[in-house]
């Protein structure tokens, strides 16, 4: 079956689509971790919140494109509040405390979602423009999934340009490298962190919104993707944009092929990959230079 070109084309597209989602989700996690050494386990919750915000927004407005704009902004606001009220004070705490607090937030998120939206799974419709199928190399493939791939790619390019070509990007890169030096230069690094944190949350929300029509929306939809996103961060190297991109690509493809080729080992494949990386390249595939 592996040699069947039809199977390869469709399955690789499936892999790319998962990669795009994982990229949107893991980039915020990765950059925040790189900037302030802060592990936000509640990042997956923001993904779930994005999907639920999309559900409510889709009921309120009749336009998917408006939903695509409004819901991630809503998630970024929630993320910002979370940072100001709680996480800001956790920055200097030891990693175990950070993990426990943000782990607790997962349950708070789960319960809140159940109270507000109920325990039943929901779906939202694909917008009419993207509802049908397209032909890719002679294969019929859902147009909406192609849209997800394109969106992931677009966000990657925008972030790349933003990091490489703008002043803010330069500050962020410098901050990942050596935050004390940046602060010593008179830059309000705290504000930069805050903006980056909100942007990361918004992108997790965006991942939730675009995932909503493909996956169903249910309490707990965050857990399986959170684990994949954490693996992506480990694989690519914390704080690295290219690392998050490469890591997402590898995990997305490996998970998609693994599920149907070796279903018994689907999860094992991914964990084994992570273990290999930790042994041979502990700083990740695309490590960020560090001057700590």
């Amino acid at each position: 079956m592996l040699l069947d070109p039809e199977f390869l084309i469709v399955q690789t597209l499936n892999g790319l689509q998962l990669s795009a989602l994982l990229f949107l989700l893991s980039i915020g996690l990765s950059v925040v971790f790189g900037l302030i050494n802060f592990i936000n386990l509640a990042h997956g919750t923001l993904f779930m919140l994005g999907a639920y915000f999309a559900l409510s927004a889709a009921r309120a407005f009749d336009s998917f494109w408006l939903v695509l704009l409004v819901a991630p902004v809503g998630v970024a606001v929630v993320g910002g509040l979370l940072y100001l009220v709680l996480l800001r004070h956790m920055q200097r705490a030891d990693p175990m405390k950070q993990v426990l607090v943000t782990f607790g937030l997962i349950f708070v998120g789960l319960e809140s979602v159940m109270i507000v939206w109920g325990p039943l799974p929901h779906t939202i419709d694909v917008p009419a423009l993207l509802a049908g199928s397209s032909s890719v190399l002679g294969q019929v493939y859902p147009t909406y999934r192609l849209f997800i791939i394109a969106l992931g790619l677009a966000v990657f390019l925008l972030l790349y340009l933003g990091l490489e070509r703008t002043r803010l990007g330069a500050i962020v890169r410098a901050g990942v490298d050596n935050r004390t030096m940046v602060a010593a230069l008179g830059i309000d690094i705290g504000l930069v962190f805050f903006l980056v944190f909100c942007l990361g949350c918004g992108l997790a929300g965006l991942a939730g919104v675009v995932a909503a029509p493909v996956f169903s929306i249910f309490p707990g939809m965050d857990m399986s993707v959170l684990i994949l996103a954490l693996i992506v961060v480990v694989l690519g190297g914390p704080g690295s944009l290219k690392g998050a991109g490469l890591g997402s690509l590898i995990i997305g493809i490996a998970d998609t092929y693994g599920q149907v080729l070796v279903p018994e080992l689907a999860r094992v494949t991914i964990y084994a990959l992570m273990a290999l990386i930790l042994i041979f390249k502990p700083a990740g595939l695309v490590p960020v230079r560090s001057g700590h």
Binding site: V10, Q11, V140, S216, T256, Q259, P263
Partner: protein, 392 residues
């Protein structure tokens, strides 16, 4: 108060407490359906139809009013068992009816067997409940998983499908459905092109599995999905270009009346096998659907019909015992004697297994008006389970 009036008052008090208590002691029926958890929607659907059943067939037998006592299983085995015990020991109900989830039914089974109170299962289809784990106290008005799909294999083989791909979630019901199909299909000369059992609950995306179906190039696929995943599966099947290339067939919940309209034209051409579809052309079904639509503004589903028939089974058995409920063995015996023409067709309880004997319908989803509906293609009358390991 004078002596006379106080005597009178005492007499009245005695009368007030003894006489009505004797004549109008209510018949208590515990309704064990989820109003929360994953099966809350189905629980709600069965509750509506059960109420409608008692409205139609009587809320009073031999002067005793029928009192329904709801208990929420929360779709969870441990809560289901706790609620069953509460109904039986605290509320002292005469009959328990309900249970959507096979996991809940499995948890309640031993308690029901030991409590010696009739339990009527109105949905859960796990084979062993009326197979090797059958009990004289447990009757099932819905179906067994094998009963629904057993005839589909030979039917599809006869229609010229030689190469079929199987898919269902990896859990008891999924395997029971696929096993029952495979057995009949292979015996009729069919070939299994491949099979996939995605993990239950964890499957976020059908895409990778659909790619595998495509690569296997079967004539048809036979699948079992229900609820939200069924809606998604049918839509993705079309979006991946499989509709029109490979015939989609399934245990009929794939295109349940509850959501086939949400699937719309993506479901068109799908084949299904089930114990009920709203399009069955009998006066009994027409009357049921007319009432249900008038009350709830949508088609009654196979879930609703099983609950509706359960209400009728209870009322007719109570009429047969003259409203007596103290002798529970006699009550069960009366239930096993009940038979009638319901919306599904002829209904009776199989004395060998306590499972329902019923018609099974093979349908095709066809355009109807501006939407789609399941239209009956074939009827297999009086389908009865072999008593696998059950000795009643």
């Amino acid at each position: 108060m004078t002596r006379k009036t106080s005597t009178l008052a005492a007499a009245l008090t005695v009368l007030a407490f003894s006489f009505p208590a004797y004549a109008a002691d209510p018949i208590k029926i515990g309704v064990l359906l989820p109003s929360s958890g994953v099966f809350a929607g189905l629980g709600g659907d069965q509750t509506l139809a059960l109420e409608m059943g008692f409205d139609d067939f009587g809320r009073e037998v031999a002067g005793r009013p029928i009192e329904l006592i709801p208990a929420d299983t929360e779709s969870k085995p441990n809560s289901g068992l706790a609620q069953f015990k509460k109904l039986v020991f605290k509320d002292e109900v005469d009959i328990v009816v309900g249970i959507i989830s096979s996991a809940v039914a499995g948890a309640v089974r031993d308690a029901a067997h030991n409590a010696k109170v009739p339990l009527i299962i109105s949905n859960a289809g796990n084979n062993p409940l009326t197979g090797e784990q059958c009990s004289p106290w447990i009757l099932r008005t819905s179906f067994s998983n094998s009963q629904i799909v057993r005839e589909m294999g030979p039917w599809m083989a006869a229609k010229g499908y030689n190469n079929v791909f199987l898919m269902a979630f990896d859990y008891a019901a999924g395997h029971q459905m696929m096993d029952a199909f495979r057995e009949g299909f292979v015996a009729a000369g069919g070939n299994i092109a491949g099979e996939e059992f995605p993990p239950l609950g964890e499957t976020k995306d059908f895409g990778p599995y659909l790619a595998k179906v495509k690569a296997a190039k079967p004539d048809a696929a036979f699948v079992f999905f229900a609820g939200g995943p069924a809606i998604k599966f049918v839509k993705e099947w079309a979006a991946f270009g499989l509709k029109g290339e490979v015939t989609l067939a399934g245990a009929g919940w794939l295109n349940s009346a509850l959501y086939v309209k949400k699937q719309g034209m993506d479901a068109e051409g799908a084949l299904g096998i089930l114990n009920y579809v709203p399009s069955i052309d009998t006066p009994e079904n027409a009357a049921f659907q007319e009432n249900f639509r008038a009350a709830h503004g949508r088609d009654g589903s196979e879930f609703g019909v099983a609950a509706y028939d359960s209400a009728r089974l209870i009322v007719e058995a109570l009429k047969a015992t003259g409203g007596a409920t103290d002798d529970k063995a006699a009550l069960v015996a009366a239930m096993r004697e009940v038979h009638f023409e319901g919306p599904r067709g002829p209904f009776r309880i199989d004395p060998m297994t306590n499972n329902v004997v019923q018609n099974i319908y093979i349908f095709e989803v066809q355009p109807q008006g501006d939407s789609v509906a399941a239209i009956v293609q074939d009827v297999i009358p009086d389908v009865q389970d072999p008593p696998k390991g059950c000795t009643l």
